[in-house]
């Protein structure tokens, strides 16, 4: 449930946030899992 701050005449609501990773590198960007996913998407795709 959203939390209200302020007062009834001028309420300020915090909406539910769907957050991403921003501009930070994806965790494990140089990991085997990353490379495997990369291969699945770009290299070993069905023709």
């Amino acid at each position: 449930m959203a939390k209200q701050i302020g007062h009834d005449d001028k309420p300020v609501m915090f909406r539910k946030t769907i957050a991403g990773k921003g501009s930070r590198a994806r965790p494990g960007v140089y990991s085997k899992e990353y490379r495997d996913n990369f291969d699945k998407i770009f290299t070993k795709e069905k023709k």
Binding site: I18, G20, K21, G22, S23, A25, F38, I41, F42, E45
Partner: protein, 130 residues
């Protein structure tokens, strides 16, 4: 950092029906197909964009993106903007057009840059095939 509703709508729409949103590939050996692939060093996102051309008219577009919701939403937005355009018109589409259309926050602007770089690479590839 929150995704805008436009990004969320596009991202979910792609997940629901990837084919409708031109996810896929053309044969890169096809002389009428141009391919551009770029990666964003900032975060590890990668986009491959392929144009199918008739002369200098972009008949069809396909893409694959390994990235976050903003990167995928930016890719599909670019695809929609490219279809039916000429190469010269495509060159005029800039990352800020996508960023504005999707209301990308500053921290996600590199996603729209990735899309613009992909089309630049694809056009370079097409011009090299001529």
């Amino acid at each position: 950092m929150a995704y805008s509703q436009k990004v969320l709508d596009r991202f979910h729409s792609v997940l629901d029906d990837p084919t409708k949103h031109s996810v896929g590939r053309f044969d890169p050996e096809d002389p009428n197909v141009a391919t551009g692939m770029t990666g964003a060093p900032a975060c590890g996102d990668v986009m491959r964009l392929q144009l199918k051309l008739d002369g200098d008219l972009i008949e069809d577009v396909k893409f694959k993106t390994y990235g976050c919701g903003s990167a995928i939403a930016s890719s599909t937005m670019f695809v929609d903007m490219l279809k039916g355009k000429t190469v010269e018109q495509a060159k005029l589409i800039k990352d800020k057009d996508i960023a504005e259309a999707l209301e990308l926050p500053p921290i996600k602007l590199h996603c729209s840059v990735l899309a613009e770089e992909s089309i630049c690479k694809a056009i370079e590839d097409w011009e090299s095939k001529q």
